[in-house]
Amino acid sequence: MTEAAAKETVRPAPARPAAGVLRRLPAAPLYFWLAALVIAPNILLFATSFLSSSGGVLVYEFSLANYARALGSDTVRLLILRTILTALAAASLATLVAYPLAYYVSRHLGRYKLLAVMLVVIPLWVSLLIRAFAWRIILGENGVLNSFLVNLGLLDAPSDAFLYTRFAVILALTYMAIPYVFISAYTALERVPNSLLEASYDNGATPFRTLLHVVWPLSKQGVAIGFCLAFLLAVGDYLTPTMVGGLDGTMVGMVVASQFGLAGNWPYGSAMAIVLMMAVSLVLLAVTYFSRGRGILQDVDAGAGAPPRQPDRSLGGLVKSLGAKVLLLLPYVYLYLPLLIIGVFSFNDSEIQAMPLGGFTMRWYVELIGDSGLIEAFQRTLLVAGITVGVALVAGVGFAMLFAYLRIRWAGAIQGLLAMPVAIPGIVLGISMVIACQFVGIEPGIPRVVVGHSTFVMPVMMLIVLSRLKRLDPSYVQASMDLGANYVQTFRYVLFPMIRSAVIGGGLLGFTLSVDEVIVSLFLTGIEPTLPVYVWNQMRFGFTPSVNAIFTAIGLVSLGLVLLAIFFMNRSAAGKNGTPEWLSVR
């Protein structure tokens, strides 16, 4: 990390009374983004909720009837409650799994740290829908779990207690949430300085007390961000719950969505979406309230992150270490079991996705090569993610610099507003973007999806880069300009090298969020589906196991690339401390 040495010696200067040289950077694009991509869609959504619909056509008369109907409906109230409780349960369970895992990886793994982290991230690159589908195969009556339990003699006959239950819904949503909580928990834990832990031990605290009174208070804000992200993804996803939960997996998103489809009643759907958003906001406020910390870690405190702990060589220590390693493996089994199922079915000689297996075949891979629909959807997904990350990069870095170096009025509020799309459930965001795109005439297809994805990828990028910029000493930029460098040179040779790892981290996270996004895309793609939307359509009509083949290939290629990267990084000096650079965002 090029910036590390320099910044540690200098206390971060406050951003506001910043270097005046960049003051003239125009803030107009910031306000344009805010108005066009955040405020306008939400105002349109809000306005629509007060209209009514007749035969699928909007009637422009103000009315509160939609809200009265939504709030008066037992179904809407029950489903909102069920959706929120289920999402909370999933995010909580995911935290229970991900936090200890992140702690262990952060403190106890040396050169395998990066591998351990990337292994948690890789499943996110395989379509969530396909992974949810794999859970169906695992949990079904003729599924893997039942076969296993019956063979072990623990069950006399296959049980129907696993699939199409609330248990299945929570299991699948927890599964989905773990990587997100893990990433933010890990990032937070990496920032906890070892010196504080040593101090705690030196004062006689047990490891548990240290965890409770030192590590947790310093990392809980980071965990809360992951928790909220997981919660929001779970609230917004109404497809996974129905796939594994059957009728009991019906979530409020399904009912909201039906108003935009069959009923053609956008106003009522918008009102339901607004009610849902209000309920979600209350939960987010509560989480934020309880996770607020006293004071923040400064880089000068944080030091160089956590070195791995020295292993305990006693017998007891070895047993404990072995036990911990076995426990460490369990979350990975959980994360990779569905991927294994997808892999197995990609070689299964049957079009039907159910046990028992047919023979071995390679034909799904052969057909994949000729399946232009699937390949095109894949290319489109990469294109969308690529453009989105590009847009997010330019806008996110630009806006972050504006906030860091310009005196922007109500900067905190504006940052909050820009980040709002991250905090809006997918179903609501999708709907508001549809209304907005329709309004300004942006065509369905790639342009709409890019706009939709940019709304939530850009703030992620911006906040990550901004948090890095705020910790930089502004005098480097000042010095560069004083020495005669122009803006471009200063950015290229001084500023960018110092924020590069934050940009890479933000870009990777944004890419991951974009490639597997299904709900927002579902509303925006029109007839040019991205891969997740294509998969969703296929699951209903015309499924081909080539879908398993493409995701097995994506999973294996990702794994291969990661292993290769780690191999080369371990050979070079960069990998010596084993910390993935892009994750060490401070």
């Binding site: 699939l163 489809g261 069959l262 009923a263 159910a354 232009s372 629909g373 329709q438 007839i527």
Partner: protein
């Protein structure tokens, strides 16, 4: 823009996809937002179709173009709603639309289609007489289209689980099948079946009392159903994995697929009636031209229909004799309802989709069913 690709793989993938896409009424919610692309300006020697996958495959269209010199543009849709929304918004300006008879009134009310001139379609003689299509395509005393394809939505079952052939929808409420009944997630298609079960006089125009009966029936059905299918492939997997043994069949392709896997599934036409769809060729105002009618006529030749039936395993509109005469194999006929329709009283037992009295109300009942708040 959905001008179909000429890649054969695209066409191959479309075979099964089409079978139920067509019935996707409301469930294909995302697509219903309408791809507002594809607006086409019409030239006199062009015909633009707004159709469904497997209805007009690229090679068939190309052959027609070469023979007639008329350029044919194909725009595919994903759902009934999408087609209506795009036609209404003017984002797709087609000459011929392909939709079910139940959708006639809303297109007529919106002034989107023109009365159909059957005299310009000599091949109408090939449409199976037993279908009684003229009556089904007449609204307000005027003819609005001609059938192009049709299909049934019967009761399907696993022979190992039932005692013989169930001939009433009441079988779905039989406690014996608790947790093993499958439905599919579409109020537009499902509520008429429930209405038939409760004995509604007109399953598409129910009284308040009948709505209440439907509500009660759905409440009683809830414990029977653990999951609902999102499409026919979803349904096939649910039945194949043993999660369901009986249910309302979205498309008989599900039964064909299961049989092909060696599973003893079958379907029956219950005494109360079987919901059935008939998709018609319908011309818009701008499509009211001779070359458009010529294309529709060409679509009703036995050769065209046989090719479509073989490709999609949909029924087409020919009678069994005409189809066989044109070379459709007995094996294919067995996989469709083409032979069934020749039986006496077949069409009397079919209940062809009509526009529902209040789709909003139907959807609300269905959502209550899904949420378990009935």
């Amino acid at each position: 823009m959905t001008i179909q690709k000429t890649d054969p793989a695209w066409a191959r993938g479309a075979i099964s996809r089409r079978r139920a896409l067509q019935l996707g009424a409301g469930s294909a919610l995302a697509l219903s937002f309408g791809a507002l692309s594809g607006g086409k300006s019409m030239a006199a020697s062009e015909v633009t179709l707004f159709t469904w996958e497997t209805y007009h495959e690229p090679d068939w269209v190309q052959a027609y173009q070469q023979a007639s010199g008329v350029k044919v543009n194909v725009v595919n849709t994903g759902s009934v709603d999408e087609m209506y929304a795009q036609t209404r918004s003017g984002s797709v300006k087609a000459d011929v639309l392909y939709f079910d008879t139940g959708s006639f009134p809303r297109y007529i009310d919106a002034g989107l289609i023109a009365p159909f001139d059957a005299a310009q379609v000599p091949n109408r003689k090939n449409v199976s007489k037993t279908m009684g299509w003229e009556e089904k395509c007449t609204v307000g005393g005027k003819l609005w289209g001609i059938p192009y394809n049709w299909g049934t939505q019967p009761l399907m079952y696993d022979k190992r689980a039932t005692d013989g052939e169930p001939l009433t929808w009441a079988a779905l409420w039989d406690k014996k099948y608790k947790g093993k009944v499958n439905m599919f997630d579409d109020a537009y298609i499902t509520i008429p079946m429930i209405a038939l079960y409760v004995g509604a006089a007109d399953p598409f125009n129910m009284s308040d009392k009948e709505f209440e009966e439907v509500r009660k029936a759905l409440k009683a059905l809830r414990p029977q159903v653990r999951t609902i299918a999102r499409g026919f492939d979803d349904a096939t997997n649910i039945y194949a994995s043993g999660e369901a043994v009986i249910g309302y069949c979205q498309n008989i392709a599900i039964v064909n697929d299961l049989q092909a896997k060696g599973l003893p599934f079958a379907y029956s036409f219950p005494d109360e009636g079987t919901p059935t769809w008939i998709d018609c060729s319908v011309v818009t105002e701008q499509g009211n031209r001779p070359e458009v009618y010529s294309f529709i006529d060409a679509n009703l030749t036995p050769e065209w229909q046989v090719r479509m039936t073989e490709f999609s395993l949909n029924n087409g509109v020919l009678s069994a004799e005409v189809a066989e005469g044109a070379g459709l194999s007995g094996e294919v006929i067995k996989k469709t309802n083409i032979a069934d329709q020749a039986q006496d009283g077949f069409w009397d037992k079919m209940v062809v989709f009509q526009p529902p009295e209040d789709i909003d109300r139907r959807l609300e009942v269905w959502n209550d069913f899904k949420a378990g708040t009935l």
